[in-house]
């Protein structure tokens, strides 16, 4: 893990910008590769069992997170748009609801939550506000978090998720230029077979 464990640093060529390359054997790699480990199958199964065992906490957790989110969206409405603080709180709040749903296997919550995250991102980064779009998403999210709809597969409410996606696409993606640049960079590095 430390410098002493490095198997050497490559010296920079004369005139070249100074670049130090170190080949480091970390304690993590050494120890993880010891004998007596667990197979992937067993490790994943044990970990998934743990998540299943705590799934009963999900309703309380999501209710709490939804209550906070409702308060933040109400604050955004009262203030007529996002501030740096409410953007951060709303985005985090929406992500929490989405991520909990995803971790416990509620794909509809994940999908609607993801759409809300994206909407908040696009609106706030683009210095825009649409209470109607936010409210529509919040109503959908409240619905899919109810016990009746929680376990519904996303495909069963495709119309709902498609409508939400359409709503989000009314606002430009602030990362579009970055995505294009990365795609071009990657395309130029593809090695011919």
């Amino acid at each position: 893990m430390s410098d002493e464990n490095s198997d050497g640093a490559d010296a920079p060529k004369p005139g070249a910008p100074e670049v130090k390359i170190m080949h480091v054997q970390t304690r993590f790699t050494t120890m993880a590769n010891r004998k007596g480990g667990m197979s992937r199958e067993e490790a994943v199964e044990r970990a998934e069992t743990f998540v299943e065992n705590i799934a009963e906490k999900y309703p309380d957790w999501v209710d709490k997170d939804m209550r906070s989110l409702v308060e933040i969206i109400a604050r955004i409405k009262a203030e007529g748009g996002f501030t740096k603080e409410t953007y951060d709180l709303a985005y985090r709040g929406a992500c929490r609801v989405r991520d909990l749903g995803g971790t416990f296997g509620y794909e509809l919550t994940t999908k609607v939550g993801d759409s809300l995250c994206e909407l908040i991102f696009r609106l706030a980064e683009g210095k825009m506000h649409s209470q109607e779009a936010l409210d529509t998403h919040m109503n959908a999210l409240k619905l899919v978090c109810t016990p009746e709809f929680r376990g519904t597969p996303a495909a069963a409410l495709k119309d709902l998720t498609d409508s939400l996606a359409k709503l989000v696409n009314n606002y430009p993606d602030p990362d579009a230029a970055l995505k294009r640049a990365e795609a071009e960079k990657r395309a130029s590095l593809v090695k011919p077979e």
Binding site: F28, T29, M31, A32, K35, M38, A47, F50, K179, V190
Partner: protein, 203 residues
């Protein structure tokens, strides 16, 4: 458990060998206690015996050398010191024996800019929330199987980000058949796990 996040049955992150996490010190730096709880469970399920919490970036930075942390999982939006700064400070501190430890970012903020910033701050890999056992395990396995050289320049300290064109082992890698990612045409608004892996993979 959904396993929606990066769940893959084939590919460069799929490990067939056994891994031994006993005795290793894992740190989870995340302000969200639910995420920390879930991560504890996943890591214990994988056989980890020592899992340490940090509720903010300051605590993480302070405790990493003291607790001999071997692997850091950190959220980007940490209070006090955010994830990017935490990694940069950790990597830059030459007196810190833990500066080379693998750092895995756990984040919901999978916009392109955050993934690039994570890579450029010196993280080894990004794991998108929601968390799944398979995604977390496979990324840990990937780090053990594909160790990267550490690069230090005036503007960057961290795992080597340079591209190599020979591709990853097992015939999976950056070749024409591996389908270049065209993010512009992707219907998803954020960067997927696969795309993130490609941005971080050994180059």
């Amino acid at each position: 458990m959904s396993g929606q996040s990066g769940e893959k049955e084939n590919g460069p992150t799929m490990s067939s060998k056994s891994l031994n996490f006993k005795g290793l010190n894992f740190m989870i730096a995340d302000a969200n206690e639910k995420i920390r709880g879930i991560m504890h469970g996943l890591l214990r399920g994988f056989g980890a015996t020592n899992v340490i919490d940090a509720v903010d970036g300051e605590a993480a930075l302070r405790d990493i050398p003291v607790r001999n942390v071997d692997v850091l999982f950190c959220d980007l939006n940490l209070p006090k010191i955010d994830g990017f700064s935490l990694i940069k400070q950790l990597r830059a501190d030459e007196s810190n024996a833990a500066r080379f430890i693998p750092v895995l970012i756990l984040t919901s903020h999978t916009q392109q800019r955050n993934i690039e910033k994570s890579r450029d701050s010196g993280a080894n890999i990004v794991i998108a929330k929601p968390l799944s056992a398979k995604a977390v395990y496979d990324r840990l396995a990937w780090i053990t199987e594909e160790p990267r050289a550490f690069v230090q320049t005036a503007g960057y300290i961290g795992p080597d980000r340079r591209f190599k064109t020979e591709g990853l082992p097992n015939g999976v890698g950056r070749r024409a058949a591996d389908a270049a990612i065209d993010l512009e045409d992707e219907p998803e608004k954020v960067v997927s796990d696969d795309e993130m892996e490609k941005m971080f993979e050994k180059r």
